[in-house]
Symmetry: D2
Subunit: 241 residues, 4 copies
C-alpha cells in the first residue's frame, strides 16, 4: 500500500507541474481518439472558410471577476481561472477577425440568492453574494469587453442552455458549430458542451488552454470525457491556424 | 344571408360597447362553470389565509410602455392595455399587503432583434424596435415600480415560462398558486397560463379586469378557454375580498 | 337587455349551424388578414415544390379513440372531433403523396394517472382513464394508421413540444414548416402552434377544417388568434391545390 | 520524461486493479469532502425515515441489454456495466422494501435513428441499431423487471431530464430526493445528476458501486466532480444501513 501512495504522490506532483508541452504530450499519449468513425467527419461537406465561420459561434463562459479575479476573494473563485484570461482574450480577438458570432454567457443573480442553485444559496445574504447583478463581481474580467453586435446571455445554472433562450438565438442565426472558452471545465463548460451535443450542434469545440478548472487533473479528466462524445479539443494555437 | 349579416353587425356593436357591467353579466350567463368537478377543489386542504398567500405569486406581465402607452406609438401597442393600468396597479398593491411574492415579467430584446420571434423581426432595425433593452419603450408603464424583494424576470417569447428560469424561482420559493395580471390575453397571458397548468401549479387565477386584449371579444373568448382548463377568473373586486 | 339576449341567442344558433360555406364566408369577412406585413412573406425565397415538402412536417395531433370516437364514452371526447376524421385521413394521404414527414402525436398516460395534468387526475383510477397506454382508448381512430418511416411521438401535456424531444427530431430532419391537423383547437392544437412559433418554425399552417373543437365558436376564435401571430389557416382544399 | 511515463504506467496498472477496498480507500484519502458547509445540511429538518423515503425516488438508468450485456455485441456496451447488474438489482430490492418510488429510465430509439444524437446516428441502418424500440437490445438486463406501480421513462439523450416529462412526474409525486443507479457514469449518470441539481432537488445521491463506466478512472473522476457540487456518493452498503 505505501508504494501505491508513493506512486499517487508522484502523479500529483507530476500533474500539478503540467505545462503546455506536457498538455500536448498527454493528449497524444493518454487519450484515445474521439469515437466518431472517420467516415462521419469525411461525410461533412467541405466548407469554404467564410461560410464556416458564419455558421460558428463562440461562447465565452463565466469570465467574470468573481470567478477569475483573486482580488475579489469570492468563494466561487476558480483556481485556474486567472491564468487563462489572456488566452480567452486572444481567442475572442481571433473570433472577431473571423466574423464569428460572439456570445458572452454570464451568471447574474438576484441579491436575495433566490435564483441560485440550492447548494450555493448560503453564500447570499444582505444583498451580497457571488455575481449578484449590478455588483462588481458580476463584471467581466479586466481586459474583456462586449462589443457592438455581440450578445450577452444571462444564465442562472451551470449550462448556458439550461432554462435560457440561447438555443433559439443561435439556431435562428444559422449557427451550427460552437467554440467554447471560459471557466470552469467540470461545471459550466462541460454542462454547456453536453447540452450542445444533446441539442444537435454539428461540431462542438473546446479550446483546451482557454478553459480551466480548479486543478489540472479535473480539467484533463473532463476534456477526456468530452472527447469521448465527439467534442473537438484543440489548443488555441491549433484552432487559430 | 343578409339577416345573418345584420345579426353579426349587431353583435359586433354589442361587444364593442362592453362595459364592466356587461362583462360581469356575460360571465354569469354565457360561460359554463369550470369543468373541474367540485370534488377536486373540495379535496384541497383548507388553508389559513397567511399560509395561502405565502404560497402564491403574482405575475405582472408585459406592463411596459411599448405595450400599454399610446404615446410610444409602438407597433406592439395593445389597444385595451392602457385602460387596465390602474387595475394592475391596484392588484399589485393588494398583493403587497398580503405578502404575495411579486414577479415582474418583461420583454427585453437585443437591439438587433435577433432574440425576437421570426414574425416580428421586421420591426427591428437601426438598434430600435419594441421593448429593446435600455430604451424607454421597455420601461414599466408610469405608476408601476419594482420594489425591493420583488423579482424581475426577462423573457423573449409569449410565455413567461418559455426558455426562462421562472419555474425554478417559483417552485424553490414554495409557490403553488399563481395570480396573473397584465397584457395581452390571447398571447402572453394565455401562454403563461397554459404553461403554468402544464407545469402543475395547483391553482392559476387570471384577474379578468386586470388583463386586456386588443378587443373585448378576443379577451372574452380566451377567458372562456382558460376557464375550461380549470383556471379561475374572478374580477379584481372578487379576488380582493 | 332582453334584446341583447335575443341577439346573442340568434348568434349562437347561427354559429352552431356553421357549414363549410359559412366558414369560408366568415374567414373573409370577419378576420382581418394576418398582421405580418406583406414584405415579410415576399422576402421568403421562392421554393421549388419538392424542396418545400422535404422541409415540411405534418403533425397529426391526438387523433385517438378517447378524443374522437363517441363509442368510447370518454370524458375527454371532443364534440367536434369525429366529424373531422375523414378530413384528417385525407390530409394524411396528401402529405404522403408529397413526401411530407408525418409525425403522429399521441397522449399515452400511466394507468396511475401520475403523468396527467393535475386538473384531470380525478379521471384516473383502478388502472383506467383516458388514453392510458395499452388500452383501446389510446389507439388511433379507425382508419388512421402509422406507416413505416413515419414517427410516433408521445406527449403528456397539451403542446406536442412541451417536455418532449419533438423539436430535436424535426430540426435535425431539416424541417422548417409545419402543417397541423387533429384535435382540439383551443388546447393541443393551439398550444402546439404557439410553441412552434416560439421555437422559430418559419411557417406554421393549421388546416381549418381538419381541426376541431367542442363548439364552432371555440374553434373560430382560436383560429382568429393564431392568424394574428402569423399562422396560415387554409382549408384542406386550399392547401392541397 | 521516461520516468514520468513509468509513473503513469504504474498508475494505470494501479487504477485498473481497483477493487472495492481500494475504492473505499481512495474515497477517504483523495477526495476532499463535499463543499457544502456543514451548516447547510444541519439546517435540513430531521426527517422520520418513512417520510424521507416517501419523498425519495430511485432512478435506474439505462440498464438495458445493449449497454450492459456483452452477448449483444452492441457498440454501446459499457465495459464496466455487466459487473454492476447485481448491485443495481440489490439497490432496487432495498428501494422496494423502503417504499421508494422507482423510475426505470431507458433509451428507446426509432429504427431510423432519427432521434439519436448526431454523433451516434451512423450506428443505425436497416432498422437496426442500439436500443431500437422493440428490439432485444432495448430490453432490461436479465434479472431486472418493472413491477406494477413503478414508472418507465423513455429518453433519447444522456440526461433523464432532457426533453422529457420526468421532472413533472417526480415533483407532483412530492419527490425531493433522488438516488441514482445504472450506467454510465460520465454520460447518462452525470448528466442526469447535474440536471437534478439544476432542477433544485434537495438531495441527490449516487450509489458509487451500483454505477459504472468504461474504466475505473473515468468512474472515479466523475464521482469526484459530482461530490464537488454537493452530491452524496455512498456505497450501496453505506446507503442501505
Amino acid at each position: 500500500m505505501p508504494s501505491h501512495l508513493a506512486l499517487l504522490s508522484c502523479l500529483l506532483v507530476l500533474l500539478l507541474s503540467l505545462d503546455k508541452f506536457l498538455l500536448h504530450y498527454l493528449k497524444k499519449r493518454l487519450f484515445s481518439g474521439p469515437r466518431i468513425p472517420s467516415g462521419t467527419s469525411k461525410s461533412r461537406r467541405p466548407m469554404a472558410a467564410a461560410a464556416k465561420w458564419s455558421e460558428t459561434a463562440m461562447l465565452v463562459i463565466d469570465m467574470q471577476k468573481d470567478f477569475v479575479d483573486p482580488a475579489m476573494r469570492s468563494p466561487m473563485l476558480v483556481a485556474g481561472g486567472e491564468a487563462v484570461v489572456p488566452a480567452v482574450a486572444e481567442a475572442v480577438a481571433v473570433a472577431r477577425e473571423r466574423g464569428i458570432f460572439l456570445v458572452w454567457v454570464v451568471r447574474e443573480h438576484d441579491p436575495s440568492g433566490r435564483d441560485v442553485e440550492l447548494f450555493r444559496r448560503h453564500h447570499y445574504s444582505g444583498g451580497k453574494g457571488p455575481t449578484v447583478k449590478g455588483l462588481k463581481g458580476a463584471e467581466l474580467a479586466d481586459g474583456l469587453v462586449i462589443k457592438e453586435g455581440e450578445y450577452k446571455l444571462v444564465k442562472t445554472r451551470f449550462s448556458a442552455f439550461f432554462a435560457t433562450h440561447l438555443d433559439s438565438v443561435l439556431k435562428t442565426a444559422g449557427i451550427k458549430n460552437l467554440v467554447i472558452v471560459g471557466v470552469q471545465t467540470p461545471n459550466c463548460i462541460r454542462q454547456t458542451v453536453f447540452d450542445a451535443v444533446a441539442l444537435d450542434y454539428e461540431k462542438v469545440t473546446v479550446l483546451i488552454d482557454a478553459t480551466a478548472a480548479a486543478r489540472p487533473e479535473i480539467h484533463l479528466s473532463n476534456i477526456r470525457d468530452m472527447k469521448n462524445i465527439g467534442v473537438e479539443t484543440p489548443t488555441l494555437e491549433e484552432w487559430r491556424r
